[in-house]
Amino acid sequence: MDNFESLQSAWKDSKQDAHAGMTAKDMQHFAMQNHSKSKKFHLGNVAILALVCIGISLFFYFIAPMQEAISRLGIVLMVGGLVVRIVIELVSHRKADQIEFNVDTKTTALQASKFYNWRKRIHGPVTVTIVSLYSLGFYLLTPEFLDYIPKFWVVIMDIGYVIIAVILTIVIYTGIKKEMAALREIKDIRSELE
């Protein structure tokens, strides 16, 4: 028996012993649960962003209506940035859902690669622009805040924003690194398929 035949024989034997360890009913419940959990997770992210957006809008409309044009521009930049982010999240979710697993591997790899290339474009100039405009919007509020809040607390608020921005940048950067690694791996798979 040559090497390949011995591997084939071992493969056949391993199939005899194979069992995924779940009944069909259990697997069905598991798949159904997971399907709805994953949907809730994606929509949960969008819901959090939407709540922040609504919270900021209500705060500046009812509790602290700003009078100066520069402050209003700041609010528009902050809320506008969040709205664009929400739209991007929804589009991303839809695009990820469109990757088909039931077609041939070359097609799936191409679809996955298109998705991650799109994410790459989003992570680049788009995310940087959104974060920059949001931050600019926040600091445009400072002059008017100084009319109502003691300087000490305004400074604390501005410094606090920098800390939050640094943490958020690290979180976003980690996510980007992961997705870019995925893109490289998919590119490798595509070239191995050629």
């Binding site: 040559d2 090497n3 390949f4 011995s6 591997l7 084939q8 071992a10 493969w11 034997d13 391993s14 199939k15 194979a18 069992h19 995924a20 360890g21 779940m22 069909a24 009913k25 697997m27 069905q28 598991f30 798949a31 159904m32 997971n34 399907h35 990757i99 088909e100 697993f101 039931n102 077609v103 041939d104 591997t105 070359k106 097609t107 799936t108 790899a109 996955a112 992961k178 690694a181 995925a182 791996e185 998919i186 798979i189 191995e192 398929l193 050629e194």
Partner: protein, 164 residues
């Protein structure tokens, strides 16, 4: 497809193909049973999602194989930690985890040294799929596939001869 049909079809596919899927996942995960079970679950989650789109254009077997292969290949980015370990460390760990009489060590060791796509292709060959069926699953042209399989078999042969 009604919810009732969806459930019945899913259960029928699971009962008929779970062994085939698990074996492929186990080979892809180089004999790691826990990872293979997780991957098998991931495959059947994808089957559940895609089932309403199943139109009998491909045979159920080919259709399930496609989902299985695609899930394995795209799943890789979540298991980077496992893949980053030197192959000999993985092998040592497998040997320690395996029963003393585990007869598949050599199989998983050999196919585990291939790259992901080659590993998938050779597992389909080991599963006695015909070239046209493998081409249908992977999208690789049949002529190209024959060359690849020949090259993979040669590599496996060298590996096993050197391994003793």
């Amino acid at each position: 497809m009604s919810p009732q049909e969806h459930q019945e079809q899913f259960q029928s596919f699971y009962n008929n193909y779970q062994g085939m899927v698990y074996t492929l996942c186990l080979g892809y995960m180089k004999g790691e049973k826990d990872l293979a079970q997780d991957l098998t679950q991931e495959v059947f989650i994808q089957v559940w999602r895609a089932l309403p789109k199943f139109r009998n254009e491909a045979s159920p077997k080919t259709w399930i194989y496609r989902i299985c292969v695609n899930t394995c290949l795209l799943h890789i980015r979540n298991t980077k930690k496992f893949n980053m370990q030197p192959i000999d460390e993985q092998y040592d760990r497998l040997v320690q985890q395996s029963d003393a009489n585990d007869k598949y060590e050599e199989l998983y060791w050999a196919i585990g040294r291939l790259n992901d796509v080659d590993r998938i292709i050779i597992m389909l060959v080991l599963d006695e799929m015909k070239y046209d069926e493998i081409a249908e699953v992977t999208g690789i042209k049949e002529g190209n596939l024959r060359v690849k399989v020949h090259r993979i078999k040669q590599k496996l042969n060298e590996l096993m001869n050197n391994h003793g």
